[in-house]
Every structure is written in C-alpha cells, then in structure tokens.
C-alpha cells in the first residue's frame, strides 16, 4: 500500500512557505517544552497554579467514578452479609462475653498508665487530624506516584502535611488548591521518610522504589541485619511526620538495605487522614529593621 501522503505543496510558494512555517512552529514548540522542563526542575513549584486549576475541574469526575466503584464493590459483601448475619450475631455475643474480663483489665491499665505518666510529667504531642477525605485518582501512567486528595485549602489542608490511612503512612501533601490536593505517595522514588525499627528503635531511612515497595536503609551504623517481618514506624525526626505511624514491613532477611512492603494501601476504599506536621518549621527571621528604614 502506498502511504497516505500528506498533500504536497507542489510549486505553490504559499503552500511551501506554509509547510516550512509548520516545521518551524513544531521545532519551536519542542524547544519551548525543553525550556519549560528545565524551569520545572529549577523551580518545582512554578506550575502549581496551572495544575491546580485543571485538578479542581477534573477531580469531581474522579470523585463520581470513585463513588460508583465503591457502590459496585459494596455489592458482594452486602449479599454475603445478608446470609451470614445470624451466625455472626451469635458469634459476636459469645465473643463479647469472653472479652469482658480483658476489657476491665485494659481499663485498669489505662488509668494506671495515665497516673504514671503524670508522675513522670511526660507531655505528649498527638497527631492532630486536619481533614479526612478520600484519595480519588493517581498518576497511573507515569513512573512518578502522585495521588489526588479530595480536600484542599478550604478544608485546612496545606502543603507539607502528612497523610495517613488507618493502617499506616500514605505520604505527604505536595500541592494544594481550594478543594483538592496532590499527595506524594510513600512509594514514589523521590519520597524519603525517617523511620525506626519497632523492635529495637534502630533508626533508618525509608525511600520509595517506584515498583510499589519501599527500600529501608540504615541511617547510622552500617551492616545492620534485617529480619523478615521487622516493622518500621516513623521516627518523628525532621519534624514532619508524627512518630509512631507504621510505614513498612521487611519482606526477607537482608543486610544494609532491605525491601519492605508498605503497610498502608492507598487504593483501599477508605478515608485518608491529613494531619498537622509534628513540629511546625521554625518561622523565618524578620528582615532587619535598619535596612528597611534606609
């Protein structure tokens, strides 16, 4: 088959010139792309506004589709629940009886704990939840891992706030617009989280690998063995992530660096909580008065 040729300009000067201008425009477009690309590396927050406007416009579509997905996903458990509810009721009643004793003991422990803490004069900083919303879509076609959160400036979300799910850390907010926010997931290759091992408090650094796993590296002394099943939680170092949020579980025995599976599943049909940073960054020093007066 002969190729479906573009119309040739022939001897028409005007057509030739038009074709030439087309190529000039194409090369210019690619060049502008290169310049924009360099700018977006030199100054990453340069295009927040453009992305924000488009995100504001498109997130309602995602939210609607997410609602549909939740409804569809609810059907099988609903059918199962309808038939299994009698047996479950009986089982739960028995369970409640069995756990009464445990509950009483737990209450006692809580009271004792409060008393002891007061004795030690410990002061706690609880991770304060700012907003609760759903992650509705992600950049599934790109090698970067960003998700869109269905809450933004008007709900109190600010750039830099950590985001967690019920099971563990999801990531942190990168960009905000009035009703939506862009979240850098913990599995993104450029995400870095200071963590410590639950077992002995060994500090480490958790970076995303890009393939859905997290890489844990020793922060201090080298040559530290990891055991399969070691759980890492945020350490609170750096002041961004509140300490004690579960991050990842090591998959197999290793030394120095270990592959770990993230504990939170951002795709779960559940809410994500946006929390305040553990310690707010120090305020900028005020500009010297004398220079301003002159």
């Amino acid at each position: 088959m002969a190729p479906p040729r573009k119309p040739r300009p022939g001897f028409s000067r005007r057509a030739q010139f038009g074709l030439f201008l087309g190529y000039v425009a194409a090369a210019t477009g690619a060049l502008i792309g290169a310049i924009v690309l360099v700018l977006s590396f030199l100054h990453p927050p340069a295009y927040i506004a453009a992305r924000g406007i488009l995100r504001e416009a498109t997130t309602p579509v995602s939210s609607g589709l997410h609602w549909v997905r939740r409804q569809v996903a609810d059907i099988p458990p609903g059918v199962g629940g309808y038939f299994g509810v009698m047996g479950e009721n009986r089982r739960l009643k028995a369970e409640r009886e069995a756990e009464k004793k445990l509950l009483a003991r737990a209450r006692q422990l809580v009271i004792e704990n409060i008393r002891l803490r007061r004795l030690l004069q410990l002061r706690d900083r609880e991770g304060e939840t700012v907003a609760t919303a759903r992650l509705v879509n992600a950049t599934s076609a790109s090698t970067r891992r960003f998700a869109t959160l269905n809450a933004g400036l008007w709900q109190g979300v600010r750039a830099g706030y950590p985001v967690r799910g019920p099971e563990g850390l999801i990531g942190r907010v990168l960009e905000v617009s009035p009703n939506t926010a862009r979240v850098l997931l913990a599995v993104d290759p450029e995400s870095i989280i200071p963590v410590r091992r639950v077992r002995d408090g060994m500090p480490a650094i958790a970076t995303g690998r890009g393939d859905g796993l997290i890489e844990v590296r020793v922060a201090g002394i080298a040559n530290m063995p990891y055991r399969a099943g070691d759980v890492f939680v945020t350490s609170g170092a750096g002041g961004l992530y509140p300490p004690g949020i579960p991050v990842a579980r090591v998959m197999r025995n290793a030394r120095d660096t270990a592959e770990a599976r993230p504990l939170a599943n951002p795709d779960a049909l559940d809410f994500a909580q946006v929390q305040r940073p553990y310690l707010l960054p120090p305020a900028r020093p005020a500009p010297p008065e004398s220079a301003a007066k002159k």
């Binding site: 088959m1 002969a2 190729p3 479906p4 040729r5 573009k6 119309p7 040739r8 300009p9 001897f11 028409s12 000067r13 005007r14 057509a15 087309g22 190529y23 425009a25 194409a26 090369a27 210019t28 477009g29 690619a30 792309g33 290169a34 924009v36 690309l37 700018l39 977006s40 590396f41 990453p44 340069a46 295009y47 453009a50 992305r51 488009l54 995602s62 939210s63 589709l65 997410h66 997905r69 509705v136 879509n137 992600a138 950049t139 599934s140 076609a141 790109s142 090698t143 970067r144 891992r145 998700a147 997931l185 290759p189 450029e190 995303g208 890009g210 393939d211 859905g212 951002p266 795709d267």
Partner: protein, 169 residues
C-alpha cells in the same frame, strides 16, 4: 493562481470534523488518569500518546506537525510528569514521524505498528529518564507498560479510523 492542480484523482480535503475531534479524543485519552484507582505501579497504557500516534499514522493530514507541543502540555498537566516533558517528547516524535514519512515509499500496517511501538517506547523511556531518578526500580513495570501499549495499538488505530470515516459521506 499558484494553487496546486486539482483533479478528480486528487486526495479529498480532510473533513473539518476529524480536525476537530482528533485533538479532543487525544485530550480525553490523556484524561484516562482520572480513573478512580490509586495504583502503586505504572500500569496504565498512555492512551493520550497512543491516540496521538494512531491519528498521526491513520490520517497524516488531520494533525498539524506542531500539534505535539500543545497536546503534550495538556498531558503533562494531568499525567504527573514534570511539566514540559511530553511537550518536548511528543513534539520531537511528530517531527521525526514526518521525516520518516518522506523517506518511506511503501507502507503497510505492520510497518505502522512498528513505528507506533517505537514512538511509544521512545516517549515512555524518555519520560521515565526525565521524571524518575536512575536508581528507581520502575524498569520492569515500564517494559510491561510499553508492551501493553504496543499490543493495544491496533485497537487504537481501528478506533481512529472509525472516528475518521464516520463523518465522511
């Protein structure tokens, strides 16, 4: 006066309808990232890019040669890549495809498929090199994504063809 000679054998003018819907479908393809799935690996084939290549190979006269930059800009805004990467890569791809068109005399579908796979692989690998650090473990997923996109190209090409012929008398 200097108009090219028109005869009954000349190619018909491209329908204005295809000129309008080609960019629209490509932008819709870019918006497929709105699917309500928060994935942890890049698995979604880049539908915007596939439709761009599909339209370009099925109807070379529907897309202007400079269309890569504006369509790439829109794709960058929704895809999560740093802004400008698709502008650059898509723009370069369209220019290179035009230059190849001048060299190639005979064309068949297999050749089109090869060209499309090459373009998709070029854009995806280029985008990966621009966006993610070299040490990131995304290459397996990227290879699967390229394979998937190449395998789906015939469908996309059929879709472009159907959209194009629907408006014709």
């Amino acid at each position: 006066m200097n108009e090219p000679l028109r005869s009954a054998f000349a190619e018909p003018e491209p329908p204005r309808r295809s000129r309008r819907i080609a960019p629209a479908t490509i932008m819709l393809g870019s918006l497929v990232t709105l699917l309500p799935v928060v994935s942890t690996v890049p698995w979604l084939p880049p539908l915007g890019l596939m439709l761009l290549v599909g339209w370009r190979l099925v109807r070379p006269d529907v897309l202007r040669v400079w269309a890569g930059a504006p369509l790439g800009l829109f794709d960058d805004l929704v895809s999560g890549q740093p802004l400008g990467s698709a502008m650059l890569l898509w723009g370069v791809s369209l220019i290179v495809l035009d230059m190849l068109d001048m060299r190639l005399v005979w064309r068949d579908f297999w050749q089109d498929w090869l060209l499309a796979s090459g373009t998709i692989a070029f854009c995806l690998i280029g985008g990966r090199l621009i966006a993610s650090p070299l040490g990131a473990h995304v290459d397996t997923a990227l290879a699967l994504q390229i394979l998937l996109a190449s395998a789906l190209y015939p469908l996309v090409s059929r879709l472009c063809f159907a959209l194009d012929t629907k408006g014709r008398p």
